[in-house]
């Protein structure tokens, strides 16, 4: 299949491991990505915290650009995905707002393309069985807990995922790769990402709680699908609480034996290589 691709700012910088592994996995699974022409930032929490119209106009600019290609748009960053879905939701619900935003953009919003996260695309379009069939290096010994964070699934009427309190798509994918996925109750708890820089002490507390939960569940790593969660979970826990965090696409790359799968592991702020070495997975 072919989709429009919105990398967002993080995937070109802090979250480049996600971008690179996302592209490699897409190639291997026959998902063709076409980057949205001249995209711009979605505004993230800074826009909706301060100016509602701006928080709709910024993602709308990208949605309109993607509409030219008339394909589903795949948004890997959970934070961007949430802002895109929010913009779609409000533009469809509020005619006056739509008119104001179209005025600011000088273009019409059609609302005809679906906004999708790669978890949904891989789980529903490729499927767990097809993914399992491509595994050449089972992730034996890896015990991840899957961490969805908050913005991918909430609010449920906007993000439109089933099982938003106890999602399982990532768990199933990791299971298909041969990992021993651990169950835990913090799958969708917030890590405090949006206050990471301005109220660090609170966020350290929140991240420590998550890591303690992961350890209690018997995990030796965490799997995420959001560059904000990644940055936060790698940087903010107290030193004795840290454990390796992977993008789910990095683990798919390893399990599928993709050529450059090891490259992205080198730039993590919490080095996951010792664990993978010890398990003889790299």
């Amino acid at each position: 299949m072919k989709v429009s691709y919105y990398p967002g700012c993080s995937l070109h910088a802090m979250g480049k491991e996600y971008d690179l592994s996302m592209k490699a996995v897409s190639r291997a699974l026959d998902i063709e990505l076409k980057e949205i022409e001249d995209w711009s930032c979605c505004g993230a929490s800074a826009a909706h915290n301060t100016n509602f119209d701006l928080s709709i106009a910024l993602p709308a600019r990208n949605l309109i650009a993607a509409e030219k290609d008339a394909m589903d748009v795949m948004v890997p960053c959970a934070a961007c995905f949430n802002r895109f879905k929010m913009a779609e939701h409000h533009l469809k619900a509020d005619k006056d707002l739509k008119a104001r935003i179209e005025g600011a953009l000088g273009a019409k919003y059609q609302g005809g393309i679906a906004i999708r996260n790669p978890i949904d695309v891989i789980y529903n379009e490729i499927g767990i069985d097809a993914l399992a069939a491509k595994v050449v290096k089972p992730m034996t010994g890896l015990k991840p807990v899957s961490y969805y964070g908050c913005l991918l699934l909430r609010p449920p009427n906007v993000c439109q995922f089933e099982n938003y309190e106890n999602p399982f798509m990532l768990d199933k994918m990791m299971g298909a790769l041969g990992a021993d996925v651990k169950n835990w109750s913090y799958k969708t708890d917030c890590c405090g990402g949006s206050l990471s820089v301005s109220k660090t002490a609170i966020v350290v507390e929140m991240c420590d709680k998550l890591m303690a939960g992961a350890k209690e569940a018997g995990a030796n790593c965490v799997v995420t699908a959001c560059p904000m969660c990644m940055a936060n979970l790698e940087m903010r826990p107290s030193p004795n609480m840290k454990m390796p965090v992977f993008y789910f696409t990095e683990l798919i790359s390893l399990a599928l034996g993709l050529p450059d799968a090891k490259d992205t592991l080198k730039s993590h702020l919490t080095d996951p290589q010792p664990l993978l070495n010890q398990l003889r997975l790299i």
């Binding site: 070109h12 910088a13 909706h48 509602f52 119209d53 600011a104 909430r154 449920p156 917030c190 109220k199």
Partner: protein, 175 residues
């Protein structure tokens, strides 16, 4: 004259706050409730009581993480996360000092970065935030290691059509 409750409801443009029956499920699930000056459901009560000053100058509105747990679990679909956005925007438009000043400064630095290049450049944004907040010492240990790992791009990324970005900021300007 419009009451504070009516004003907030109009801006939320959804389920009115009167639908809340104060079961406190929102506050029980809020990850930062223990750090807030007033719990999320207390804020609703205060809005109903017309305590505008207290609400808009509280730390609560700036500590809310927008994690959307409250709206997800509210039995009456009261959108507290959206309410917090509305309250923050009202506080800004009225020129009130934010009780958690650095939270707002961080948002401002982030938006300046978009205004400047259409995309966010983490390094420039951080410098901008540090200048505004005077908080020069946090995270000094993290930045160099990010540099070495090639995580911080040297050149700011840019959207080509900057005119459209400028337009968006101008036309959505509130005051």
């Amino acid at each position: 004259m419009e009451t504070f409750l009516e004003e907030v409801n109009k801006k939320i443009h959804g389920v009115p706050l009167q639908a809340c029956y104060h079961c406190r499920k929102c506050s029980a699930g809020c990850p930062v409730a223990s750090h807030m000056e007033y719990n999320p459901n207390k804020i609703i009560k205060m809005i109903q009581n017309g305590q505008k000053d207290k609400v808009l100058s509280s730390s609560t509105i700036w500590l809310c993480l927008s994690c959307e747990t409250c709206i997800t679990r509210c039995p009456n679909e009261v959108d507290i996360a959206r309410m917090m956005d509305v309250l923050r925007q009202m506080a800004i438009e009225e020129g009130r000092a934010a009780k958690e000043a650095n939270v707002l400064k961080f948002h401002e630095a982030f938006l300046s970065s978009i205004k400047f290049g259409g995309r966010v450049h983490e390094m420039l944004m951080t410098v901008h935030y540090k200048l505004k907040s005077g908080d020069f010492f946090s995270d000094v240990d993290i930045a160099p290691s990010m540099f070495l790992k090639g995580k911080l791009a040297l050149l700011p990324p840019r959207t080509k059509d900057m005119k459209s970005i400028k337009n968006i900021f101008e036309k959505t300007k509130t005051k």
